[in-house]
Subunit: 331 residues, 2 copies
């Protein structure tokens, strides 16, 4: 274990905070970029993030905090992005430092709205980062349980096994088990799609469907996810591994998931706009639905659940009628 | 749809009551055997089962209720057993009527303790019922949600497609979707094994593991279930279909599951005896664990979760230590 790996985390939300917490279990110093200077000042003074995971104690002496993204990119070799996908291009537009020679990890679980790409592909195509220098950090993992130091399992995906292993070493601890895989495309799509299925679970709950239906929905969702990912990146993978099925379940069954909450409001009759306003948070599943729908149209995957969510969110279809139709397509 | 199919249900519990409710949506008369004569009198007078699913209205005029098992077997062609597996042989020992020429459906989801067989195999070996006349009714389905008429999906397994279809017709309604399969062995083992995994989920919860771990446990459980069932009955099946994965999830994520409650008490430090005493109900998973462990030893399947539950329930191992070991075998 090399305590001197030069890793920086980008983002100030709960998942970014959880990743920082995991890293400082192992590393001497962790770089941490966030926009909000008041938050930085608070962390420096009080050893915790005032906005997210307040209970997670973070030794500020070992944090290299900055609101200057160029400082952070220049100084660190491995960059972990944990910014909501909707803000990613805005943040990256500030860059003057080159990303070449950097290793980029996505912990975003969303699709970049401007390009419709998953984050790894976005860095690959827009910044010419070779795919071998791109990785994914995925769950199943609620940030809140990392804060509580409850045993959690992460999957690190990278085509370069050595890079994956180093990141695994930096993250693992007595409460974090890490495994590695080379399926960067599949794990990242799984992390994106599961948010759509969490929206679907929320809509179903909002409409009054019960636990029996939820289990059927999840059983169909994992089969749909398998079909979808096979179309975008065919390789041998076990869709029931934790990075795919586990991640779907931890989100689809969570009553705290933003995506599920968003769906729940839609099911209860809120318009998309009013649900978004009410939540004042970004439900990644909302953007993911549009991109995933477009991709499945291009690739020709059979995705009745994504279709139903898309029709409700983007085509103004009635949730009740749309789900009634959906129930006849599930088994 | 033949309204005159001669179907009888055996058992007075919540799942038996739910099946009766589904059947009288379609059939003119449903036979219903249960031991308790007071309960029978109450149902005749009040149109509901006083002990289980009280809210489910059951038109007593269309029920042929009796506490005489021989009367019921003689009069009906298709017999659905929904008695806890621990009581099955006791009930069957009362039989003077022959079961030959009958079609037997198991809705038991347990292993017969005296023979260590799943219910279909028990009827096949002990009563010479040909496998083609044996079927399985399986979920994912909480009886409580049937009572509430919330959309639920059943799977009917029978090697004889015609028998499966007739049973599907008798059970389906505006709130029940039914599909059929010929995998009687696999669906019945899935229904048995999921109770063990629900015990495991309960133990984990009782020990303080969180939702992140639960999703990893379920992700490993479905892979373990696939390996186990493949060893006992190799055929082409999609383990992510509702009858397998859906059934696992509806039980493993249910806080009302008896098996999960039983496991939870074990995790919290109750002895097996005191947990059983406290519950005053049979947790099918308890018996299932012993039989499944024996079968996997014979067949050589890798089943770390079943092993851990077995070691705790039958070998007096400390749940905390046993689960600590288990966490290193999961991924």
């Amino acid at each position: 274990m090399n305590k001197h790996q030069k890793i920086a985390v980008f983002g100030g939300g709960s998942w970014a905070t959880a990743i920082v917490k995991m890293l400082i279990e192992n590393l001497e110093t962790v770089g941490w970029y966030m926009r909000n200077e008041q938050t930085i000042a608070h962390i420096k003074e009080n050893d915790h993030n005032p906005k997210y995971l307040r209970s997670a104690e973070l030794d500020a002496n070992r944090l290299d905090l900055s609101s200057d993204i160029n400082y952070m990119v220049a100084k660190y070799d491995v960059l972990i992005f944990a910014i909501p996908s909707a803000f990613l291009t805005g943040e990256l537009s500030k860059l003057k430092e080159s990303l070449e020679s950097k290793t980029i990890f996505s912990a975003i679980k969303g699709i970049v709205p401007e390009t419709g790409l998953i984050v790894g592909e976005h860095f690959n195509r827009e910044y010419n980062i070779p795919l071998t220098n791109i990785g994914v950090i995925t769950g199943p993992c609620h940030a809140e349980e990392v804060a509580m130091e409850r045993l959690s399992y992460l999957t690190i995906a990278c085509q370069d096994e050595d890079i994956a292993k180093k990141m695994a070493e930096a993250l693992q601890s007595w409460y974090i088990n890490v495994k590695t895989t080379d399926d960067i495309i599949g794990t990242e799509y799984a992390a994106v799609l599961k948010n759509i299925y969490a929206v679907a679970a929320g809509i179903a709950h909002g409409l009054g469907y019960g636990d029996n239906f939820q289990s059927v929905l999840m059983s169909n969702a994992i089969r749909e996810m398998k079909r979808f990912i096979k179309k975008v990146h065919k390789m041998k993978r076990n869709i029931n591994n934790s990075a795919y099925l586990g991640d779907l379940l931890v989100t689809g069954y969570s009553t705290f998931s933003r995506n599920r909450m968003f769906g729940n409001m839609i099911g209860k009759g809120y318009t998309v706009k009013s649900a978004q306003h009410e939540m004042s948070m970004i439900a990644e599943g909302y953007y993911a639905t549009k991109s995933a729908y477009k991709i499945k149209e291009e690739k020709g995957a059979k995705t009745p659940i994504i279709d139903a969510v898309y029709n409700i969110l983007y085509d103004d279809k009635d949730p009740k009628k749309e789900f009634k139709k959906l129930t006849n397509k599930l088994d």
